[in-house]
């Protein structure tokens, strides 16, 4: 299909054309590149969007299963486990966000006017801020878990000594 388009454009470039030769050539090259690039970028962004959707969907389903599993635990353990589930979901979201940012960067190739580009820039900005805050949260939570582990280790060692 793309080959036919390219041949058609090339024929048009050779046969027709009212301007100078270099103008025609540059016009032809830009049209050929566009005809090749647009479907390729469309396929790529489509695949990336689907992948991001699947990642978030699967993370959500796993989180729901884990949530139902912890319901039989005592209430204090439940609170801790809920935090862990949330952080796992956040990790999935972070991965999907990175995918989406990649997809947005690809989409900027297709955007012609400044208004859409501004909208896309706003969305990418929101995504970057979200991703930064999520990664910060994960870091904070992992330090809390390490501190808790250290406290447990020290308390168990003191119990052994006594």
């Amino acid at each position: 299909m793309d080959g036919i388009v390219i041949v058609a454009i090339a024929q048009e470039g050779i046969v027709g054309g009212g301007g100078t030769g270099t103008e025609n050539q540059s016009h032809l090259i830009s049209e050929v590149t566009e005809s090749l690039l647009v479907p390729y970028v469309n396929y790529l962004t489509f695949g990336i969007d689907i992948a991001a959707g699947l990642i978030i969907g699967l993370s959500a389903i796993f989180a729901l299963i884990a949530f139902f599993k912890i319901l039989i635990k005592p209430i204090k353990e439940q609170t801790q486990s809920k935090e862990t589930i949330r952080l796992n979901l956040t990790r999935g979201m972070l991965l999907a966000l990175d995918f989406e940012i990649g997809s947005d960067i690809l989409k900027t190739i297709l955007i012609p006017s400044i208004r859409e580009l501004t909208l896309l820039a706003v969305i990418v900005g929101i995504r970057i801020v979200l991703s930064w805050s999520l990664s910060k949260e994960i870091g904070r939570h992992s330090t809390v878990i390490e501190e808790n582990k250290q406290m447990e280790n020290t308390s168990s060692s003191t119990n052994q000594n006594t």
Partner: protein, 135 residues
Amino acid sequence: MSLLLPYINIEDIIFTITLVIDIIAISVIAVSVIQTIYYLLIYNFKSLLSSAKTTSISNSTNIQRNFITGLILALEFEAANTVLKMGVYTSLAIEKSSSSSSILSDNFINNFIIFVMVISIRIAIKQSLRFKKGK
């Protein structure tokens, strides 16, 4: 794949996923609320029978904390939804720009502004819940 692409609509797929995530978030909130009511009833009944007030206070704090964690978990699901919906917005923006006119309609921009406002409100609620939990 190239033959299938015109028939597969990315917005439809993502809207289905967001619908599933919405149902999950609602069920998480419902389970948290039911569980909290159940535990509160049990502990209040127990505290009526026994005279140990300090344990009942710590228990109610734990229950409250557990409930807030459940709400924050549900908000996290909604945040995941938001990420997907933003993808739909960008796809629509590109579709609109490439199809008929390069100018986006005012309705679309208004919807986007409302969407951003909803995200900000959610972030504010999440932060306030976290602050409450920390207390």
